[in-house]
């Protein structure tokens, strides 16, 4: 969160995150190259680069796609989410090196335009065994490029969080394309079942985690049967909400986070203005509701970011009666001051 424009908002956590990431990538690449030179001494430098960067990128993509559902199921994984964008851009750079070297190696040494050659040198589009798998990689790389190019908050602000998030959900399409790129490409020539099994395991893990997280969340959705007379709806007992934490409810399409803090109850919209992060999964730090994704903050009683920041979310009326919490799902305009309900 920053008032002034800065290309990258570096802080200690981000630097540690990036150093660990680059260290692990470096370690993987060195190990890959050394093992290949030991076991396949005739391998060329170009082939080594293509294989090392391609395999590293697909492993990273699996890690990236696991972070989201893991965080939704267990908040202990949230530190991994904090700087996932750098992980994504680094993965794209590796994929780009893989794609670039592959295009040069297989399509740029003739007298045909490499892109024309990519699409037309093999036209067996109806064959599985001989499918032109490089085309799948090309389209996946195109999606990853769009994502990497728009990953900065500049684009998030200008495209709007909804459009930006929709664009970045294209990563799932890219993932599907890349699984088939590998399966119809290098693994059609691979005799050892180990690689197929590893990729299958990765794919099952990703699909399983995403579906589990999605259906767990669906179960948690709070849907009241009817509105109370005065517009307030019974939500839960006070004891159901941990101190400085929230209970999230979905009422008539309104995603509401009801926070308990300092003997008070306040309700704000659950969706962070930054990247639509789940505010209700965050906690109150220094008197501010803090988004678990990237640390954007809001005051619980008015949904405003503390000055000089200008983000605002809608607020809701709440009341407490006989230790039961009630909320009125009709939102106040963004940033409207609402008197917190006192816990007696």
């Amino acid at each position: 969160m920053a008032l002034n424009y800065s290309a990258v908002l570096w802080n200690r956590q981000k630097k540690i995150y990036d150093k660990v990431m680059l260290g692990l990538i470096g370690l993987y690449l060195v190990l890959f190259v050394v093992l290949n030179l030991v076991f396949f001494s005739e391998i060329t430098a170009e082939t080594l680069i293509i294989r090392a960067t391609g395999s590293c990128a697909i492993i990273m993509l699996h890690v990236i796609l696991m972070i989201g559902p893991l965080c939704r199921m267990n908040s202990q994984y949230l530190p991994l989410l904090y700087n996932r964008r750098h992980l994504g851009v680094t993965m794209f750079i590796l994929a780009l090196i893989h794609g670039g070297f592959s295009t040069i190696q297989f399509h740029a040494l003739g007298d045909v335009n490499p892109l024309v050659s990519l699409f037309l040198s093999n036209t067996e589009y109806f064959s599985l065994t001989n499918f032109p798998f490089q085309v799948l990689g090309f389209f996946a790389l195109l999606i990853l490029f769009l994502m990497a190019a728009t990953s900065h908050d500049f684009w998030l602000k200008n495209l709007s969080p909804k459009v930006w998030k929709s664009l970045h959900m294209m990563v799932y399409v890219a993932y599907g394309l890349l699984i088939m790129h590998v399966m119809l490409g290098v693994l059609q020539l691979e005799k050892s079942p180990v690689y197929v099994m590893l990729l299958g395991l990765g794919m099952v893990s990703i699909i399983g985690l995403h579906l589990k997280a999605a259906f767990d969340e669906k179960k948690k959705e709070f849907r009241p049967e009817s509105l109370a007379d005065n517009g307030f709806i019974k939500v839960c007992d006070i004891s159901d909400i941990a101190e400085n934490r929230a209970k999230v409810v979905l009422i008539e399409g309104e995603n509401i986070a009801i926070f308990k803090y300092d003997g008070k109850i306040s309700a704000i919209n659950n969706v962070c203005k930054h990247q639509n992060g789940p505010l209700g999964e965050g906690k109150i730090i220094d008197g501010c509701i803090t988004c678990p994704w990237h640390g954007y903050q809001y005051l619980p009683e008015n949904g405003q970011s503390p000055p000089p920041f200008k983000e605002k979310v809608t607020t809701y009326d709440v009341k407490v009666h006989n230790s039961t919490v009630y909320v009125n799902p009709n939102p106040h305009p963004e940033g409207t001051q609402v008197e917190p309900a006192k816990i007696v």
Binding site: L128, K165, Y175, I179, M183, Q188, K191, G200, I207, E217
Partner: protein, 150 residues
């Protein structure tokens, strides 16, 4: 995530959860039992011992060969630098020609190395052998070679 995006997310993974395993299994089933190696080297004929005549370019040489113990003639391409054309086919004719009509295909030339094609006895009588290098991708002849059969 907002509710609508969460819902879209769930639908997307339900779809991927069905489609991806199907694609994955289909790809596994499509893996060929035996990977056919480039059979060029396997079928490469024995090298004829004597060179009758040669034709030289910067990136390749062509030798017309004979052998006292073997029938007919042999054309050998010694490729020094890979062709820029991705797929090169060699056509053979007894008469000078610009196109591959009424010619016979000898085979495909691959990367650097020796590529040999036997012409059979019929080539013995011809004073000259005409070879056409054909770009399969662009479907056009890109080189005509005339080589003396003396």
């Amino acid at each position: 995530m907002i509710y609508a995006l969460r819902k879209r997310h769930r639908k997307m993974w339900l779809l991927l959860g069905i489609l991806l395993p199907i694609g994955f299994i289909a790809a596994v089933l499509a893996v060929p039992e035996m990977v056919v190696e480039n059979d060029f080297d396997i079928k490469q004929p024995v090298l004829y011992s004597d060179i009758i005549s040669s034709f030289e370019e910067e990136d390749y040489e062509v030798h017309l060969r004979k052998d006292a113990n073997l029938p007919g003639r042999q054309v050998e391409f010694v490729v020094k630098e890979a062709f820029k054309v991705p797929t090169v086919l060699v056509f053979f004719s007894h008469q000078e020609t610009e196109t591959i009509q009424n010619t016979g295909v000898l085979g495909k030339i691959g990367g650097p190395g020796s590529h040999r094609f036997n012409l059979g006895n019929i080539a013995n009588q011809n004073p000259q052998i005409y070879l056409l290098l054909y770009d399969k991708f662009k479907e056009q002849v890109f080189k005509k070679i005339t080589i003396e059969n003396e």
